[in-house]
Amino acid sequence: MTPELGQLALILALLLALTQSILPLLGAWRGNHALMAVARPAAAGQAVFVALAFGILAWAFMRFDFSVQYVADNSNLALPWYYRFAAVWGAHEGSLLLWILILNLWTVALAMFSQKLPEVFAARVLAVMGLIAVGFLAFTIFTSNPFGRLLPMPGDGADLNPVLQDPGMTMHPPMLYMGYVGFSVAFAFSIAALLGGELEQAWVRWARPWTNIAWGFLTFGIVAGSWWAYAELGWGGWWFWDPVENASFMPWLVGLALIHAQAVTEKRGSLRAWTILLSIFAFSLSLLGTFLVRSGVLTSVHAFASDPRRGVFILLFLTIVIGGSLLLYALRAPKVAHGKPFKVLSRETALLIGNLMFVVAAAMVLLGTLFPLIGDALSLGRISVGQPYFGLLFPLLMAPAVFLMPFGPFLRWGQGEPAVVKGVLLRVAIAAVACALVAAFLADAQPKAMLGTAAAVWVVVGVTLYAYKRWREHPRGRRFPAEMAGMLLAHLGVGIFIAGVLLSETLSVTTDVRMAPGETQHIGSYDFRFDGAHSLVGPNWHAEQGVVTVTRNGNPVAVMHPQKRTYLRGQVQTESAVKAGVMRDLYVALGEPMDAANVAGAWSLRLYYKPFIRWIWGGGLLMMLGGFTCAADKRFRLKRSAAMQPTTHVRNDELRPQETVA
């Protein structure tokens, strides 16, 4: 009976979502306060029912209710409870439910914190959030019901996709969705602004922390996914330019552009249309990511669902949401250039160049991801582009942005001072060249290692110089406001990330070897001794586990246990053993036994020595931290006095400079 209650809860949530979107929009149009006031309670009610549905599904997993098809397909009696909980979002239907739940969390937060916004504007924002929920709820109810029954009820279920049976991977989807869905706030703001015909700087200021937080979560989700790929897939890579990774990377890039564009619009009033367009793009790409993963249009290792009916539904939804908002943009976007003028040498220019680079890079990734589809459409056969395409173009596009990074903070708004730029240029260039020469000496003059060191030092020294300038010129307590600290942290993260990528790429040592028990391999300055393999049984898998003892100059470093697991469904999953360190990772993956009948004998093994690889994720985490820190700035809290003024009366010359009809 309870699963049907879950379904009922979803239907009630859909009705409330319809209420939340239609009535406030009508109210905002007719100036009806009662209709506008419906938005908040409807949003709260919808969240309660969605949470109820989510809880009922989780409860079905906890109780092994295999009469629910989704539970029977994704769990079994042997699956530990924490993976049964994670199994709620382990496949298509449940992950949609998680998506909606997170959308509701954002909406409720928005409803709570938007009390100080003008009534009409807040009503429109919440209505747009409601419209998005309508689409996703209808999609779930009509094409992907997680509460469908299975009769007769099987005695035991299948299994959760073993790929997801890993702590890093269970956290990956919720974090990613927090990011995807978080961009809906900036989106709703832009649509509300387009509907109302005005985008006030004060509202952009209020929207900024939401974008930063969403972007921070997205960063964390991507870092977790990358870490998982590294630890689980058994060949030590951390990014594969797989369509599904790209699906999360495109909104990340556009979100990055949006964060910087919002800063310009909020502080200077310029780039308004661009900020609106980027908000639409960021959320559209999040939806597109969901579409690409869920519709089966691109076949990939991740694509769990490919039902043409679902594909058509999502495409229809995308057309309405994205097509509608782009049309609205075309009709209503501010036609006149707002804001204070700026010279060529200014912070605005630097941010704009960075912005263009991020957006072009996102377009490049989109093109590469869709290449197989374009190939089919033009009857060119199956073409897919991978590492060679992305690996060449992405660094090229990012180079200008990285080059400008040290100067951005030093440049003044409006008009920068050439002398300051020259001073910074001289210092970062000297530091970068000097460190590159040291790296050349240490890394046998490998160009990539030198380049990586130079670029990382370029960025880090730039950040440090600016931090020092703030330290010197400002009194205690006003040196690093949260917004500033966040920027410095995130930029520092970029430097660390670059160093991690290029140094680990050039200095890593990888060997595929056949090892009999007792044999030793020498890699880097480490000795890896294979001590044989034995069988092992886990709750829902059995495995062969190897034992590898690592020593350095005779001193023990680690005993590592790589596994090759076979899950109940018969899928085989490698569990690499990683000995992590700040300066280097040691990584062992178990290949195949040389003689299938004798697992205690010789095996093929993959041994890696990976210096600086951890800096990649460390850099990513710093970027995330930067995003969150920025959002904590007190300046972003809305002051009642400033925002409560009716929009029509705001004709402040500071905010809306001379409008001349072109």
């Binding site: 249009v297 490919s306 589809l373 899928q571």
Partner: protein, 180 residues
């Protein structure tokens, strides 16, 4: 006008995705062309489920075509497929051989006793090593092997009456046509 550009760009994308969905309905996205199709089936020698002392090998089956259907008692999709095999297995005109995959013999025997046995004979691959040679990556999966021991058709996932009618039977008919 330039403000409409993003909209037109998006329309292009929609057209492309619409095409993608249509393309997927025409082509099976799961159809990974098996490198084994039109290649000799790997040599195997496996015990009979009902009598482990007797072994069936590839050589002993040469001479007439047969279908190898990979199944297991732990496999839910196999349970979905089973009624179809019960109904149609005997009407295919060639033997349907069960390939019991990574299954305890007693579980498999109990499962067949409960749901019925559509198979001409059942061979058992408890360790699943031969299945690796066949490139099996899950159950159910089926192979059509011709009289010369060459794999001519492969189906991943459960058979439905529709797939049997539109894919398997034509493939069998093609075999019988080329037989002298």
């Amino acid at each position: 006008m330039s403000r409409l550009l993003p909209f037109f760009g998006f329309l292009l994308l929609v057209a492309l995705f619409g095409f993608g969905i249509w393309w997927n309905t025409q082509h099976d996205p799961n159809e990974v062309p098996s490198p084994l199709i039109n290649r000799p089936a790997p040599a195997f020698a496996l015990p009979l489920l009902d009598d482990p002392t007797r072994t069936v090998s590839k050589a002993s089956l040469l001479g007439k075509p047969y279908i190898l259907n990979v199944f297991a008692s732990w496999c839910i999709a196999c349970g979905e497929e089973h009624p179809t095999l019960m109904a149609e297995g005997s009407q295919l005109g060639i033997p349907l051989i069960g390939y019991n995959y990574k299954d305890q013999p007693e579980d498999a025997r109990a499962w067949l006793a409960r749901h019925g046995n559509p198979y001409h004979m059942v061979i058992a691959d408890l360790p699943g090593r031969t299945a690796i040679d066949f490139g099996v990556y899950g159950a159910p999966e089926s192979f059509l092997v011709d009289a010369h021991g060459v794999i001519r058709y492969k189906h991943i996932g459960p058979f439905t009456p529709q797939i049997i009618a539109t894919e398997l039977k034509p493939a069998i008919a093609a075999l019988q046509k080329e037989a002298p």
